[in-house]
C-alpha cells in the first residue's frame, strides 16, 4: 500500500509536469459582454428562425460553459453584468439583435423604418408573442423597458439618451421619437443590456431587488428553471417560442471560472460549448482534435496604448511619434497572441470597414528613426543608458501584462525605460480616468456597435478615454456631427476624417486587432458562431437553433 501510494504520487507529478507545459496558456482575449461588436447596417430581410420538422435532431441537454464569473442578477438592463449575458440572450429578446458578423438583425421587431430626418424610428413587432408566464407581450413592454432604463439609469441610459418619447399606436407597433438624429442608436438597441423586460412583472417595483432578477421571465427561446448558485443555471425549451421551439430540450449554463478546467470539461465530454476562448497555447491541439470544432470570429475589439497628454514630456509630438515607431506590433502578435489576431495599424477597427481609414495609419516600426527623433527632440541618452523613464499603468490581465513586457523591451531599444504598474480593474479605472496619474496605459474593448464609439474613447468629455486631458475641439465637433448624419457614406467619410485627426495628433498607438478563438463539441450544429447561426441572425450566445448531430446525445 505504501509503495503503491508512493508510485501513484510520483506518476501524478510526472503526468502533471508533462501536462502542465501545455496548459500555462494566455488568458482568453474575449469576454462575452464588453467585446461584442457590430455594424449598424440594418438588415430588414426579417430572417425567420423556423426549425423544420424532419431536419435536425430534436432533444438532449446542451451544456455550455461560462468562465466570466458569477452572474449578479438576471435583470438584463440594470447594469453591466457579463456573466449573466448567456442566460439573458436565451431567456429574453431584444427589439433588434446582433449576430457574430455584427450585423443588426430582426428580433422582437420583424421590421423597422427610420424617417428621413432620422428623428422617428418605427418598429413592427411579431404578433402572438407571449411571456414565459403566459401573459401576452405588447408594445407597452417595449415602452416600459426603455422608460425604465432612462429613469433608473440602466446600463444603456446614456446610449439611449436621444430617445425623447416612446409611442405605442397599437399592440404591435412602437415608435421612438428622438430629440436629435442618432445614427448609433440602432446598434445600442441590438447589442448589450438592451433586452425587453416584462412590464407586468417590473412595474411599480424596485428593479434591483425584484424577485424576477433571480428567476427571470422573458420571451426568449428558453425558460428559466433553476439557478444553482455558483454551479449552473438550468433552462428548458420554450414550447411556445414565437420563432419556433429550440431543438434541444434543456440548456444548462455551467459556471467554471478557470479556463483550463473549462477546456478539460469540454474535452471530457461533460460540456459541449465554451462561451469564452480556451487558452491560445492549446489552440493547435484543439484544432487537431476531431471531437472539437474550432474557429475564429474577427471582432471589432482591439488593444491600443494611450499617452497621457497631461505629462509634459508626452506633450511633445516627437516623443509620441518616436514611441510609436519603436513599437513592433507584429512581434507582440507573435509572442503574446501566438499569431491569433492581426497587428493593428489604423486608428479604428477595420472590421467596421465602411468607417475605416486605411491611409492614415500608425508610423512604421523603425527604431533607428525613433532614436534619431528623440535625439532631435532633445532627450540624449543619460549615464544610465536611458533617455527617460516612463510609467505604464495597466489593469490585471495576462495578455496586457505580456504585451507590456514586450513593449518594455522594444522601448529599451530606443533608450526609454518603462516601469510597469499593474492594478486591479477597479483601481485602474479611477487612476486613469479621474487622477490621470500615468504616462502610458493599455486598453482594449469593443469598438462598436457603431463608430460613434470613438466619441467615448477620444472626445474631450469621453468616458472611456485613456489619453489624460487630450482634447481636440475639431474632433469633438466632427464626431457629434457624424452621429447625427443619416447617410452612411457621408458618415463613413466623417469617421475617416476623424481618424486622420487622431493620426495627426498621435493620440494612441494601435497594438492588436483581437480575433476571438472558439472551441465546441463537433457534435453540435447551428451554434451562434457557426455560419448557419450567423446567417440565421442568432444573437451572441443564443442557442435557439443549436442541435446535436449525434443521436447518442439525445435520451
Amino acid at each position: 500500500m505504501k509503495r503503491f501510494l508512493a508510485l501513484l504520487l510520483s506518476l501524478l507529478m510526472l503526468a502533471g509536469m508533462l501536462a502542465g507545459c501545455s496548459n500555462n496558456g494566455n488568458e482568453p482575449a474575449d469576454d462575452p459582454g464588453t467585446d461584442q461588436p457590430s455594424t449598424s447596417q440594418p438588415n430588414d430581410e426579417g430572417t425567420e428562425q423556423t426549425p423544420s420538422t424532419d431536419g435536425p435532431l430534436q432533444g438532449g441537454t446542451l451544456v455550455v460553459i461560462s468562465s466570466s464569473g458569477n452572474p449578479g442578477s438576471f435583470n438584463p438592463v440594470w447594469k453591466s453584468d457579463d456573466p449573466a449575458t448567456t442566460v439573458n440572450h436565451n431567456v429574453f429578446n431584444k427589439l433588434v439583435t446582433m449576430n457574430y458578423d455584427y450585423e443588426i438583425c430582426p428580433d422582437l421587431a420583424k421590421e423597422w423604418t427610420i424617417s428621413e430626418d432620422g428623428l422617428t424610428y418605427t418598429f413592427y413587432l411579431h404578433e402572438g408573442v407571449k411571456w414565459h408566464d403566459g401573459v401576452p407581450f405588447t408594445s407597452e413592454d417595449v415602452k416600459f423597458t426603455i422608460e425604465a432604463v432612462l429613469e433608473n439609469n440602466g446600463r444603456m441610459a446614456a446610449e439611449w439618451g436621444a430617445i425623447e418619447e416612446v409611442e405605442c399606436p397599437d399592440e404591435n407597433t412602437v415608435i421612438l421619437h428622438l430629440s436629435r438624429p442618432d445614427s448609433a442608436l440602432l446598434g445600442f438597441l441590438a447589442w448589450y443590456a438592451c433586452q425587453i423586460i416584462p412590464k407586468h412583472i417590473y412595474e411599480g417595483t424596485d428593479w434591483t431587488t425584484n424577485p424576477a432578477n433571480q428567476a427571470p421571465i422573458g420571451t426568449g427561446p428558453f425558460k428559466f428553471v433553476a439557478w444553482n448558485q455558483g454551479v449552473s443555471i438550468e433552462l428548458e425549451a420554450n414550447e411556445d417560442y414565437f420563432l419556433g421551439r429550440p431543438y434541444v430540450d434543456k440548456l444548462v449554463v455551467q459556471l467554471i471560472a478557470d479556463v483550463n478546467t473549462a477546456e478539460q470539461a469540454l474535452l471530457n465530454g461533460e460540456a459541449d460549448y465554451m462561451i469564452g476562448s480556451p487558452p491560445l497555447s492549446d489552440a493547435e491541439a484543439l484544432k487537431a482534435n476531431p471531437d472539437i470544432t474550432t474557429g475564429t470570429n474577427a471582432g471589432p475589439s482591439r488593444y491600443y496604448m494611450g499617452f497621457n497628454f497631461g505629462r509634459e514630456i508626452l506633450q511633445d509630438i516627437k516623443v509620441r511619434e518616436a514611441i510609436a515607431m519603436a513599437i513592433n506590433q507584429e512581434e507582440i502578435l507573435d509572442r503574446v497572441f501566438l499569431g491569433y489576431g492581426a497587428a493593428a495599424k489604423g486608428y479604428y477597427t477595420p472590421v467596421i470597414s465602411w468607417a475605416y481609414n486605411d491611409v492614415d495609419v500608425t508610423p512604421e516600426y523603425d527604431p533607428d528613426a525613433a532614436n534619431a527623433l528623440l535625439d532631435e527632440a532633445g532627450y540624449p541618452v543619460g549615464s544610465n543608458g536611458y533617455r527617460m523613464t516612463l510609467e505604464m499603468v495597466n489593469w490585471q490581465s495576462q495578455s496586457v501584462s505580456d504585451m507590456a513586457a514586450v513593449i518594455k523591451e522594444q522601448l529599451k531599444e530606443v533608450g526609454i525605460e518603462l516601469n510597469i504598474i499593474t492594478l486591479e480593474m477597479s483601481a485602474w479605472t479611477p487612476r486613469i480616468r479621474e487622477e490621470e496619474n500615468f504616462d502610458l496605459t493599455i486598453s482594449n474593448g469593443f469598438q462598436g456597435p457603431d463608430p460613434h464609439n470613438m466619441y467615448g474613447r477620444f472626445a474631450t468629455d469621453g468616458a472611456n478615454k485613456i489619453c489624460g486631458p487630450y482634447s481636440n475641439p475639431a474632433l469633438d465637433e466632427l464626431l457629434m456631427e457624424a452621429v447625427q448624419e443619416t447617410d452612411q457614406t457621408v458618415r463613413g467619410d466623417m469617421y475617416k476624417e476623424a481618424q486622420k485627426m487622431l493620426h495627426d495628433d498621435l493620440a494612441i498607438v494601435p497594438l492588436i486587432e483581437i480575433d476571438s478563438f472558439y472551441a465546441y463539441s463537433s457534435k453540435l450544429e447551428g451554434t451562434p458562431r457557426s455560419r448557419e447561426g450567423i446567417d440565421a441572425g442568432l444573437s451572441f450566445n443564443s442557442f435557439a437553433l443549436t442541435y446535436f448531430n449525434d443521436p447518442a446525445m439525445i435520451q
Partner: protein
Amino acid sequence: MSRYLLKRFLTAVLTVLFVFVLNFVLIRLAPGDPITILAGQDNPSQEQIDILKAKYGLDKPIFVQLLAYLKNLLKGDMGTSIIYGRPVFDVISERLGPTLLLSLTGAVIALVIGTSLAIVASRKPGGLLDNIISYIAYVLYSMPAFWLGLIVILFFASYLGWLPTAGMIDARAGYTGWAHVLDVAKHLILPAGALALVGVPAYFRIGRSSMMQVVKNDYVNLFKAAGMDRKKVYRKYLFREAMLPTITTFGIRLAYIIGGSAATEIVFAWPGMGTLVLSAIQTRDYPMLMGNYLILSISVAVWMILVDLIYAVADPRIRLS
C-alpha cells in the same frame, strides 16, 4: 473553568470587532468603489452617482456607515449585496455548505493520511521509507494548490476518465434524491483529494517530529523494560502524547477552513465561499465582503477557543485557568 471561558469569549468578541472595523475601513480606503462598477463603462452624471451612493449609504462618513452597519447587525441584518441585490446572509449561507463539505473532507483525509505516514516514517527515522515519504511530503508542500488541482484533473478526469472534471453536480444529467447525493460525492473526490494532498505534509512533519520526540521519554524504556507489549506502549501512551501538536495544528487549520480552500474551489469550479469572496473583492461589493469577513473572523475566533478545550481534554496536564 467558566471564568476562563468567559474571559476567552470576551477577548474573542473584541478581536472579531477589531478585525471587523479594520476591514470595514480598509476596503473603503482602497481605490475603486462599487458605484463605478455598477455604472459600468458609460459615464453616468454626478447626479446619478449621488443617487446611487445615497441608495447604498455610501455618501455618509465611514464612521456613520460603520455605526449603521453594526446597528443592523445587532438586529441580525447583514445588509443587501450591491451586485446581487439579495440579502448577504442568504448568498453566504448557500455557499457555506459546499465550502464546509469540501474543506472538512479534505482536512480529515489530510489528517488521517499525514498522521499515518508520520507513524510509519518515525519507526525508522532516516530509513529508506522515511526518506521517500519525507521527499514526497516536501514536494507536495511546495506545490501551489491550484496547480496541483489542475494536475489531478488532467490525470484522473482527462487521462484516466475515472472522475468528473469539475463542478459539484453532473450538469447534463440533473440527478435528484440519492443519485444526487452520490453525484455530489463523486464530484467531491478530486477537489477534496487535491486539498488533502496539500494538507498532508503539515500533519506528516508535525506528527513525525512529535513521535520522534516522545519516543525518547523515559517511561518508554521503563514500560519496555517492564515487559509491556511494544504495540500497547505505542497505542496507549506514545500515540496519545504524540498527537497533541497534531490536534493543535488540526484546530488551527480548521480555523481557516472557510477561506483556505479558495484556490481549490476556483480550479474545480466548486461553488463555495472562495469564488464568492474573490468576485466580491473585484466588484467592491462592500456588504458582501463585510459579511464574508465577519463569518471568517467569527469562525477563526470560535475555533481557537474550541481547540484549547479539546487540548485540555486530550492532555490532562493542561488546566484552563
